[in-house]
Symmetry: D3
Subunit: 130 residues, 6 copies
């Protein structure tokens, strides 16, 4: 089996086109990235995932850039190369500078290290943290 | 073997006390949490880890709260219960509101989901992201 | 160092050939995939791994297709691109339709998300689940 | 900070109650488990997560039991103790026998092992799998 | 559902007892730890897992202590509290000193950090490593 | 965005050159691998990471080869292809034979499997391990 077919706009059914249109409008963009074109093989998942992303990543108590930084942090921790590449670009588009990117990676590295030190030393949770 | 002995201030060697003093002064706190007391069994790792944390978590291009949010995001992704508990408290101490915490968790959940959708659909990285 | 040499049938020692023969016969296939050719550098691991796979993936209380779906779910969660590619093909060969594949990915994504929500919200296990 | 407050039905706002009512009706159950009571601190996430779970776990090309098995497989791989405990119970409620549970665990263990053998031996993807 | 029943020696069927006897003899021990008592609910998995462990952990090109250190490193990386606790004890029984344990944890922490720095900086593999 | 620029020696600032010189001298090598050239975009992280690696990987209670084996074990568990490729080479340079490499992978695979069996069977930690 080849990796999933990518559903191009011209070939998309109306349900998929409606999501694509909303992605383009929401992001003020003129292209759809492969993640969505792959999900479009399953229109229900495409729609649900996009609706969730749109709702979750919208400005709220956290600003959109902070949310992108968090997204990158998770993707790096999971070693997901697609999401690292795409969300670093998204973060840059939302204002992440090189210095911010470097500090982000330093924190992600540090947290991954200390997570294992806490596990390896079998540290019990302090009463103050409960 | 019982889990690691916790090294209390009163029992600590001078090298460990020096680190504890710096933790207390830097954090303007009056107690040391178990993570450091466990690492103190290995003074070299205690010192190196604290120096790294102090340097990495200091204000820079990213503010300390944003760095804590990233720390929590990584810890949740790795399912490290100690670090989740301790860094949620740290984040609250640095200004994380309940709303910010809820949005943080939503983004972490979403990113973990989409990381797997990208992997499962074997999505290739767009030229625009390279 | 180059990645592991792949041991072709013609070059294999009798112990490796015996495993290859069993793979071909069990799977009613006419080729050996790279996973086994790489493991063949260590005949003991090749044999033990194949014997375990043959035993575990055989029809039992769960049918072979269900077992393949579970295999894919684990591989996607671990972001193992080789195993994703190979076991999606195996699942298709055992009857996985496109719709089943889409639903599989949706469940895997959802479970990865809710695992982190459970961790992030530090949810305690209900008495009813103990 | 104590772990998240659990929102009981009696204390819930109408938006949360509506979700709880739907959970109870959909599952033909008379209690709400802690996962939802914790998420209820953020009604938007509660609603979105429940709607997604309800849609994804409904009968489709895969039957509900198979979906639960996949959910457990992911949760075990991620070492999420809450989700392991709760979804094993769900799977049993949907018909998982002890034998099926044992085979599920064997496949999950095997897949986690072979994922690392594939990575460690740096196995390249066969042309036939592309 | 309560967590898995533990199968005690007195209640075990002959197939399980044979494995228990071999564990006790091989390890020159007088008790069986919970891991095996839980697996004993599925005698086939108990036997296969024990045979694999016995073969893999036996002295070979790597000595048994080194193998235990590797086992702990994996378990810490996966945040598996049971395996961390049990294999730290095994490693101590095979000669791991406190200093060795501390260095082990330092390497595990460092590797987890640098794995993410490599991913986050999207580092391409040098020709010399291929 | 293209992946991180690699900072070559000729283009490096004095702070980066000082680290590169120390890497070359410490390793008695005549080239710098891409990991460090990527980190050099952030001289503070380059220096801190190198100082930590140099300290942690130096001979101590554990010999350098054992430390490399542990490094590989973590990298394989995390599916980090860069670190797998680079640290397998480092391990070979420090004396890892093919047989040792094969046994390493077998232990890593086994540990990843048993970590999930322990989680899936919800095994409680024995008193003797506490």
């Amino acid at each position: 089996m080849a990796p999933q077919r990518l559903v191009e706009y011209a070939d998309a059914c109306p349900e998929v086109r409606a999501v694509y249109d909303d992605i383009l409008a929401t992001r003020k963009s003129d292209w759809i990235n492969n993640f969505w074109k792959a999900l479009a093989n399953d229109p229900a998942t495409l729609r649900r995932t996009w609706e969730s992303v749109k709702q979750i990543m919208a400005p709220g108590a956290l600003d959109p850039l902070t949310k992108e930084l968090i997204y990158v942090a998770v993707s790096v921790t999971n070693q997901c190369s697609y999401c690292i590449a795409s969300h670093i670009v998204s973060a840059k588009n939302k204002g992440m500078t090189d210095s911010m990117c470097h500090e982000l990676m330093a924190v992600v590295g540090m947290a991954n290290e200390s997570n294992r030190l806490a596990a390896g030393y079998q540290v019990e949770i302090d009463e103050q943290f409960k």
